[in-house]
């Protein structure tokens, strides 16, 4: 019975708490001592820590946000909240940038820094720009620390839908609104492809990843912080269209994975890769198939039936729910009921 697949639970309680503990050392001492006191049950589901200048310290998790008091109590209203000061933000920036703003100039231009552990910190402040675009950000006014939790094993049950009878991977598109676990799922599929899955007789294949936003592998000092499997090559920070061509020429991948396709040149690069017999997996923002049809580049690819499988994610009843797996050729939904894959207990 395919529809009753139970997704294994790999995200143990301890490792989840550990993630938060390691993350705390990137906060300035004052905030560190507050976040440390937050009750464990919030730490387990916490997805974001938000610092806004002169505003209360907040955390976000389980589809809602909370105010954090000076004693680490968690409220739905701003009671005794700790007000984030400019010093808090400046000092936290020191730890996040490894005391070296000049070393993260590139990242600042894109608006976020990837730190050890694969977490991403979004940054806002005063932007300096010139003819070539954004030059840098100064006078930081807000930080969004997004906690990345590696959830191994989500894709295992999914993979049987994504390979054909000959054991070949099918071109796949993941459709998801923001914050529904799109990248997490993509990452896990990449690892499964790279490692191979004996259960369904799928042998590991060479995977090339074009990680334009350093989100999939989350490279820190060149080394991916997320396990992407033994047969995976990562082009970190590379524009997609060029990256795809570089991989095709240099690394002989069997599957290429990228995040959000959207530019005109991306689609011609994809066509080029498909022509070379390479399979493709990518993601796009959207809620439904109709959403995707209306998007310029990816819509055309879907209409041309380039993708054999379209996975639709949602955050109901919780983050990472697989609503539908659609056969791209005849648009039939392959699963009867949504697959839940809650990883955190």
């Amino acid at each position: 019975m395919r529809n009753q697949i139970q997704v294994q639970n790999h995200g143990s309680k301890n490792s989840s708490l550990n993630t938060v503990m390691l993350l705390e050392q990137f906060l300035c001492p004052e905030l560190r001592s507050i976040i440390q006191k937050i009750p464990d049950r919030y730490k387990l589901t916490m997805e974001e820590i938000r610092l806004r200048i002169d505003q209360p310290l907040m955390i976000y998790g389980d589809n809602r946000d909370y105010f954090v008091s000076r004693l680490g109590e968690v409220h739905t209203e701003a009671i005794n909240s700790h007000r984030v000061s400019r010093k808090n933000i400046e000092n936290t920036m020191q730890f996040i940038s490894n005391y070296s703003i000049y070393a993260v100039e590139e990242e600042l231009r894109r608006g976020y820094i990837t730190i050890q552990g694969g977490h991403r910190v979004g940054i806002v402040g005063r932007v300096l720009h010139d003819n070539n675009g954004v030059r840098t950000i100064k006078e930081f006014s807000g930080l969004n620390i997004r906690i990345s939790r590696e959830k191994k094993g989500i894709a295992t049950s999914l993979l049987s839908y994504l390979v054909n009878s000959k054991g070949e991977f099918l071109n796949t598109l993941i459709v998801s609104p923001p914050q529904c676990g799109k990248t997490t799922l993509l990452r896990d599929i990449i690892r499964s492809l790279s490692e191979g899955r004996k259960e369904i007789n799928f042998r590991g294949v060479k995977v090339g990843v074009v990680d334009e936003r350093s989100e999939i592998g989350a490279c820190y000092l060149g080394a991916p912080q997320n396990d992407l499997g033994p047969r995976t090559d990562i082009l970190d920070g590379c524009p997609k269209a060029e990256g795809i061509m570089m991989l095709v020429r240099a690394m002989s991948p069997q599957v290429i994975a990228t995040d959000e396709i959207g530019r005109r040149e991306d689609s011609s690069a994809i066509e080029e890769a498909l022509m070379a017999g390479i399979r493709f997996i990518t993601t796009v923002h959207g809620k439904s198939l109709e959403d995707v049809y209306s998007k310029p580049v990816i819509g055309e690819l879907v209409k041309a039936k380039i993708f054999d499988r379209i996975i639709i994610l949602s955050n109901r009843p919780e983050v990472g729910t697989i609503e539908k797996i659609i056969d791209g050729k005849n648009l039939v939904n392959l699963i009867g009921a949504p697959l839940r894959n809650r990883m955190v207990t």
């Binding site: 490894n98 005391y99 070296s100 070393a103």
Partner: protein, 173 residues
């Protein structure tokens, strides 16, 4: 008589040595300052071309720097790698102060260093270069002053030592 002669000689030699030590401390500061300038030069190059973060960069420069300067740099990166929540400026100031007594640097040399620490790592490359250049200018000025002082005082202290020794001996005899 022989004992007297020996003692006199001992006093003269001793005083001359004291004079020489005073004199050489001027030379030492000059040497240290010129080493410091080349260390800052390395720092600038690494920041501009390497974009290496400071906790990794400082030990690397330390291996190519003079001992007294290397001690400070290593101390800073030690404090930073402990991740106890010190900012870079705090770690830098603490490291300079710990090593304050151990070198021939003058107080205002070290104060210049500390004020450089307040700006290291806090801005983009372009800005970092400005801060380092500025600190180098200041240290160069100290260096030139130190050279002038050395020329003036080193000879003086050497002679003063010898003469003091002779004077003491004459008085005692």
């Amino acid at each position: 008589m022989l004992v007297k002669l020996m003692l006199s000689l001992l006093i003269i030699v001793g005083c001359t040595l004291v004079g020489n030590i005073y004199a050489s401390s001027y030379g030492e500061r000059v040497k240290l300052l010129s080493h410091l300038i080349s260390t800052l030069q390395m720092l600038e190059t690494e920041i501009v071309y390497g974009a290496t973060p400071l906790p990794l960069l400082l030990p690397r420069i330390a291996t190519k720097s003079k001992e007294e300067i290397a001690d400070i740099l290593l101390e800073v990166s030690d404090i930073l790698l402990k991740k106890e929540g010190d900012t870079f400026a705090e770690a830098w100031r603490r490291a300079v102060n710990i090593n304050r007594k151990k070198s021939a640097f003058h107080r205002d040399d070290l104060d210049l260093l500390i004020s450089l620490g307040n700006n290291l790592g806090t801005s983009d490359r372009e800005n970092q270069v400005k801060h380092i250049r500025l600190a180098m200018e200041d240290i160069k000025r100290n260096f030139e002053a130190a050279v002038a002082q050395q020329q003036k005082n080193a000879g003086l202290y050497k002679h003063l030592g010898l003469l003091a020794g002779v004077t003491i001996v004459i008085i005692l005899i």
